[in-house]
Assembly symmetry: D2
Homo-oligomer: 322 residues x 4
């Protein structure tokens, strides 16, 4: 297969990369066994204490930017399973919950995967031919939960250097259109334009302007698709040894790749081959502004999934700290 080289190719509907290419890339980017046969942390192993400490030193202003969307409780084509937020007791019953106690209480519930909720994917979220990261069998993800590669692998949080590559800024547009693909050359070009280099152990965030687009077009138009990374970005991501990958979309462009067996190559190669946790549906508009105004695209990044035993991920509110 010849990888797409030009922007012109990048928005093509259909097969974004051939099966042969993807199978080869999948094999070549496998980190299975790299951190031992029982490892479930994958590329999080790239984050060393030294790198965390260096990242913390980036927080010299004490300015915090949340990278999460408001929890999406309204249904729409891009949010078929809206989050639930229900009061258990409100101000009208403030003295009826327990004797002498005035309180309000609520419940929150969410099927967080999808295109609407800011969340982290555990390494058990996707399989390729029945296998997870490090070769664990899909049957280990049971109806009672994931016995391997659950989100508990990240239970102590993901703390390290965050780097934003701002593709709309590179292209001089407000946002990328759904289905549009970011190619590897653009990642490199963004590095150059921003004066930064993605390094081993970084949490890489790729902005596509989705928030600006949604602000313009209205909520949850995601059914028309999302911009994302072209499959040919996989070797580049692998080469840079990133620890985690986030996006304001779901990293994979949608509509899905039409190559049989490879609908979402970024998910498949990152989660399964490389053991790279994915951060989906982040809000990167505020972050892009914060970076641009400082001309600084690196920051201390912290993310703390809920400690959900056997979980396939978690809703999150990641913080970028300058």
């Amino acid at each position: 297969m010849t990888a797409p080289r030009a922007r012109a190719d990048s928005t093509r509907v259909g097969e974004r990369a051939s099966r042969e290419y993807l199978e080869r890339v999948f094999e070549e980017t496998k980190n299975w066994g790299r951190w031992g046969p029982d490892d479930e942390r994958g590329a999080l192993n790239w984050i060393t204490p030294e790198r965390r400490a260096a990242a913390a030193a980036l927080a010299r202003e004490g300015h915090v930017v949340s990278c999460a969307l408001e929890l999406a409780t309204l249904a729409g084509p891009g949010n078929p399973n809206p989050a639930q937020h229900m009061m258990i007791a409100a101000g009208d019953a403030r003295d009826m919950v327990a004797p002498g106690l005035e309180t309000s209480l609520d419940y929150v519930g969410v099927a967080f995967h999808g295109m609407a909720v800011s969340h982290i994917d555990a390494l058990c979220h996707v399989f390729v031919e029945g296998r997870m990261y490090n070769g664990f069998d899909a049957s280990l993800v049971k109806s009672i939960g994931a016995l391997r590669n659950s989100i508990m692998s990240a239970r102590d949080g993901i703390v390290g250097r965050g780097v934003l590559l701002d593709i709309p800024r590179l292209r001089g547009v407000r946002w990328l259109e759904p289905g549009d693909c970011v190619v590897p050359d653009e990642l490199v070009a963004a590095e150059h334009a921003q004066g930064i280099e993605v390094r081993e152990g970084d949490i890489l965030l790729v902005g596509t302007g989705r928030d600006a687009r949604r602000a313009h077009h209205g909520p949850w138009d995601a059914d028309t698709g999302l911009a994302g990374l072209h499959p040919t970005c996989v070797p580049w991501l692998h080469g840079r040894r990133i620890a985690a990958l986030g996006s304001d979309g779901v990293s994979d462009p949608l509509p899905a790749n039409e190559t049989p067996g490879w609908p979402i190559p970024i998910h498949q190669c990152c989660l399964v081959a490389m053991g790279v946790h994915l951060l989906d549906n982040l809000e990167l508009g505020r972050l892009a502004s914060a970076c641009a105004s400082r001309r600084r695209w690196e920051f201390l990044f912290t993310l703390a999934p809920l400690r959900i035993e056997r979980g396939t991920g978690s809703p999150v509110n990641p913080l970028a700290i300058f």
Copy 2:
């Protein structure tokens, strides 16, 4: 009223402080209006960018300690509303969710208030005589959610200097018994023993050894109560201008105070009078060990509630970073 002075008093069952005392303290520690009539952030206002940056400088080792319990999905006397974790699709249906896509999905739901889930209380969680922090009326917390003082006040996270006061260590015990009360003198004594001072803008964590006790006694024995802060700690907390208060219990000792109208004075004075967010049911055992081994009880603290519009709080996984 004469405040209890001695340890001997602190475990007394019954009225821990008189109504007159609590009413006076409530009035004297009120921050209503301090940050303007529309303020909903309360004591989070004490955290300045400078203080955050100084806190980040504490993260010089790059060592992270999670302060959250595993999400409690098993019911028990102290966990009457167990969290829900249910798979939507597992490895046995990996190719049945969407054509060509092998995936696992789940749902998580939680009524997080109570004694089992690590969570943050929004300033709308408790009322005193029908009022919330800054004087807002309880009726503004409706069946459709909180129109004021929701958890969205903390939507950009709580990042600052965390300080742990380790009371079992001070007392030379493994844990405090349920109902036992920490008095102000002990907070000061812990500061001295640990060589640290609680300062304006700190996130104060008070450890009572609950995790060690539960490990010994088994899960969710909380029905027998929790250790916590004696009501006379309120003026001290107010004087130190803390930004948030966390505990491995719920800060208030349980069984509840028997003074009519004042069942949980710490909640009532912190949330309502002072505008201090509370962090309940943290896991502080790991943190206590990390602090003791370093002989350092300060660290960068980060907490990021889910961005739940109109919510009364959020489950969280706070991180302490050394």
Copy 3:
């Protein structure tokens, strides 16, 4: 006001009846106090044991027809809050739930009001100017549930004579279009055509062919509206002393009536003025066929809401027994 007389008027978008007319009808059809000041059963009081026994005598064939839709777990414009059905344990974990026990378990949850789930509305579901049936104040429906007029009023089921009026059959069409209104003359005409009379204590079901339309157009097109009863049907319903009213839509035509304060006059007058429970989103296609093939439009009708204390209704599966 002049009530619409002709079919030509019935599909008019906009104000289907004036405010003056609706206010007058509301007052004239009020059953408040009729069964005492504490009554919460409303028109269910019309069903006497004698009428139930007579209805049971209609079940002479022993043929049962379910009047419920499959629980709608897929979101769509007409189903913004899809029901939740999640397995807790499946065949892949059959021996992991409890030692030696092979079992599967699941969870079902539903916000049943709306346009997708077959359900019964309790008399607390709608207010008119802050009042419920029998004059109870809306404030009695609290964030912790309905203290009056909850679904527990029907906790022992609704059993009586069911009568179907089949409007598409009357009109010689397969279905009524969304927004189309059934007028009182048509109810009478349907009675004549079917050789049946709606009597005191009957459970009246009005079919509009929604199921046939959905089968043709695809699922949950309900955003384009629903056919229903014109507001001028209210006096007729009151005069007949029906015990409950059901429909394959929601009885009220949608889009809603544009008269200020009277968006859904059937709901408002039935639930609030008359105390008539409503059955929404029934599946009446199978029933219509069963009736037509027998040329018999009466049957034993049984409906049993879940016994939800303080609930505003319940999902149901009503049965028509011939």
Copy 4:
């Protein structure tokens, strides 16, 4: 194995019947293939239209008795997963849900299996050595739901002759103690005492007085166990060709049988071998009174599960109509 003959044996803790006996009974009571290789309705096939019509003729008084408990929203040892009932909008927000509409809304959710909720078990709820009724493999019950033997087999309701056998009445006690076992001779004795015979196609309800006991001892003491049917009742149930079996407990006595592989023989033999749906946790106290006062223990019985596709059962509110 020799089946227990005497009451004295019936409350024995431990092995209530040997493995050899249970394996033999399981084989001898199998209805697999009886109604064809694809049948999923099992013993519901015993209910013919004629039997339904005859049952309807029993409803000559028009008196209805609900056989369901209030939905159990409070946790306890016997109710570890309390049902959820949460308001979405109450009277305090009656005009804030939709413009001009005054409404209240709620949500109900329940993991209905267990010892607290009145529910029906679908034939997919239990496996024996990886098999369901009619030989279907347990792997057909997936994380996405049951592809075979789901509750949809009963989607058109269960309507027929109900018969109550009132064991406390037979024994002259108010209730049976947890763990106590009803033996086949008692079923026959109850028939004689009540002047009724259990026949082909009946829905058999066996009362153990659980409701009276709970009223005396307080809610959800079920952790101490439940009275139920001794395993030796299985051949009798099979011989009578009942269509469904209900109880105020869960039919099986608890604590569970200690014979390896046979913890709940009634569930295992009824659901898997015979294809008999089970109705658990019914409220039979009101029914027992209604029967005794009439000296009539037969009635029209109607039960209508929610139409939950792929579901393992449903919460229900069965009705007995005299």
